[in-house]
């Protein structure tokens, strides 16, 4: 079987599966459309959450980023998993007990205010749109690299598929396709990792493999540190960023994860409070399988790459080298005209530029794995991008149809009307996301990472204080959210797009990067919320009762 044919076959089969599931699980009520009828099994919800959560970036880019950053890449590993501990312990069970459909619904009811609800809707829309544009682009990129169609057609195919199952099935359709997508993506991620681990260390478990010895009897990480030193890169296991920035970035990613509306809403779909806790546990377990494998792939790929290319003759390079050169992801510039590839940490002698995405995408070819593994990888990357896009789409559509239209603009809308509104908003959201996927604004790549900062700076304090601090009132929450998100937007536009006078890393406040600034904005949000809250009048009695109620378990276990 040719490579092209295998890829079309496997991608086609997985797409047929997603469509089949969508038809089987169409939503017929708003309850089914928004929260899958609240009947999802915790393990299934754990898988769906994992797929929802792991985006094209986790699947394609993360191992590559770690591969280039070494220890500094730990911020993503700890940040994107540690947030689930916060979710499970501080948010998920209480929000499930509260029992509504969306995050803005909680904020609006807890803070007895449609202003708070509207602010929350806009925060949710800002966070979700910055994120979804990146996903649609990811779909296009995978299509263009593996299936030799252009990026735009790839985006259109992706839009069509998501549109079909998100609009037909709503949350119910999305949930069960995400379960299937999790299985596809984790299988696709693990198979090459296991093969390569066996090849390099004789250990089938990648998590142990990268702490083992290679065929030459040297520990793999020691060897890699040695290679790095030789070539003028900083030590792989130590990194080079400031400790303070690592600390703040990890915290921003963790708290942002716990504040992302498309993740939180998954915990509304289970039957009872104890199931919300359980699904958080399962979700993290399923996520951890990929997240503990990624750093192993990073080490294997990095070592493999350096050994294959460094100080070797350009004409002796294997075929994948030429192939990825054609895509522009790999560039060799023979500065001293000796035909030998000098790969070096010093930019003046370095002759090779490598796009970080190659580390995962070309890994099976570098390790000479069979065609079906490469095809699987394409299907896995698409599953990761589509599942996240669908989850975000639902947040956008329910924020508009439920929180804006039903609760504020037209409260007398019928259930049927609301369902139509939900599907229409999903439709327009896909078109908008597709537009950004085809005409990506320059800031898409930068803002995806910053969506976490925005979520941390806006939602997290409002939700946590809403549960753990009874005295918290609407004045405090509204001003906290507005100041938090504006401060984050200011810092991010100043240092990422050069607005407000711009500046470079030497101008960062306290030396904290825009990625880590979400933590600072969140702390400011907490301080503002609590101060303003104590200066204004107490929340009404029924709100205190509501908070006391969500803190306690139900009388029976359902």
């Amino acid at each position: 079987m040719s490579l092209q044919f295998s890829i079309w076959l496997i991608v086609g089969l997985t797409f047929a599966l997603y469509i089949g599931i969508a038809i089987w699980s169409r939503a017929s009520s708003t309850n089914e459309f928004y929260v899958a009828g609240k009947g999802v099994h915790p393990i299934a919800n754990g898988m769906a959450t994992a797929a929802d959560w792991m985006s094209a970036a986790s699947f394609i880019s993360m191992a590559g980023i770690i591969s280039f950053l070494g220890y500094d890449g730990s911020v993503y590993l700890m940040g994107w998993t540690g947030g689930y501990v916060l979710l499970a312990l501080l948010l998920a069970p209480y929000l499930r007990k509260f029992g509504k459909f969306t995050v803005p619904a909680f904020i609006g009811d807890r803070y007895y205010s449609n202003t708070a609800r509207t602010v929350a809707v806009f925060c949710a829309l800002i966070v979700s749109f910055t994120y979804i544009a990146g996903q649609m682009r990811g779909v296009g990129v995978v299509f263009s690299r593996y299936l030799e169609v252009d990026i735009n057609s790839g985006v259109f195919i992706g839009m069509g598929i998501v549109l079909f199952y998100a609009i037909l099935g709503g949350m119910k359709g999305i949930t069960y396709t995400q379960v299937a997508q999790y299985c596809v993506l984790i299988f696709a991620f693990m198979v090459p990792a296991i093969f390569i681990s066996i090849e390099m260390t004789n250990n089938p478990i990648p998590q142990f493999g990268f702490g083992s010895v290679g065929s030459d009897g040297v520990y793999l990480l020691d060897k890699l540190n040695g290679l790095h030193q030789e070539l003028g890169f900083s030590q792989y296991t130590s990194g080079s960023k400031s400790k303070l920035d690592i600390f703040f970035t990890t915290a921003a990613l963790m708290i942002g994860t716990a504040g992302l509306p498309h993740v939180i809403v998954r915990f509304f779909t289970v039957k009872k409070v104890s199931d919300a806790r359980k699904s958080a546990g399962w979700a993290l377990l399923f996520i951890a399988i990929l997240y503990t494998t990624a750093p192993a792939i990073a080490v294997f790929a990095r070592t493999n790459l350096i050994e294959t290319v460094s100080e070797k003759n350009y004409n002796d390079m294997p075929s994948w080298f030429k192939k990825w050169e054609d895509t522009g992801l790999l560039e060799f510039n023979d500065k001293n005209n000796d035909q030998i590839i000098q790969y070096n940490g010093d930019d003046t002698i370095n002759e090779l530029t490598i796009d970080r995405d190659i580390m995962v995408l070309a890994n099976p070819e570098i390790a000479q794995l069979p065609n079906w593994v490469i095809a699987l990888l394409a299907a896995g990357a698409l599953a990761a991008a589509l599942s996240t896009a669908a989850g975000l789409l639902l947040v956008i559509s329910s924020s508009v149809s439920h929180d804006l239209i039903k609760r504020i603009v037209k409260p007398d809308i019928t259930e049927k009307g609301e369902l139509i509104a939900a599907r229409l908003s999903a439709f327009f959201a896909v078109l908008l996301a597709g537009y950004f996927g085809i005409n990506p604004p320059d800031f898409v790549a930068a803002t995806v990472a910053l969506a976490f900062g925005l979520a941390a700076a806006s939602f997290f304090p409002a939700i946590v204080l809403g549960i753990f601090y009874k005295r918290m009132n609407k004045e405090g929450a509204i001003s906290g959210m507005i100041i938090g998100i504006l401060l984050m937007l200011f810092y991010m536009t100043k240092f990422k797009f050069g607005w407000f006078g711009g500046g470079d890393s030497s101008d960062w406040w306290f030396g904290i990067s825009p990625e880590g600034f979400g933590t600072v904005a969140m702390i400011v949000n907490f301080i503002v919320s609590i101060t303003i809250s104590n200066l204004t009048k107490e929340p009404p009695k029924e709100i205190i009762d509501l908070v006391e109620n969500i803190r306690l378990p139900n009388d029976t276990d359902d």
Partner: protein, 84 residues
């Protein structure tokens, strides 16, 4: 609503949260960031210990923490209901 039982339940819950979140902070921000250089002087199989906590160990502990929390809260909920 404001019975002693409800208060006890909430206080216990907060106690669990404080203990579990302290462990959460220690393995990630403590071992993986603040103390990473000190821990890196120890070797753990082929890993430097601090590096292992940052890229592997902390994640394993996170998973365990949530399942411990599930167990503790299920037990607490059950006691709360049966004493009603």
């Amino acid at each position: 609503m404001k019975s002693k039982k409800s208060k006890d339940y909430w206080r216990k819950n907060l106690k669990y949260l404080i203990i579990l979140l302290t462990i959460w902070f220690t393995v990630s921000f403590g071992f993986g960031v603040i103390l990473v250089d000190q821990l890196n002087t120890f070797q753990f199989f082929g890993f430097k210990l601090g590096f292992w906590f940052a890229q592997q160990g902390s994640i394993y502990v996170f998973v365990v923490l949530i399942f411990v929390y599930i167990y503790l809260m299920n037990r607490l909920d059950k006691n709360f209901r049966s004493s009603k």
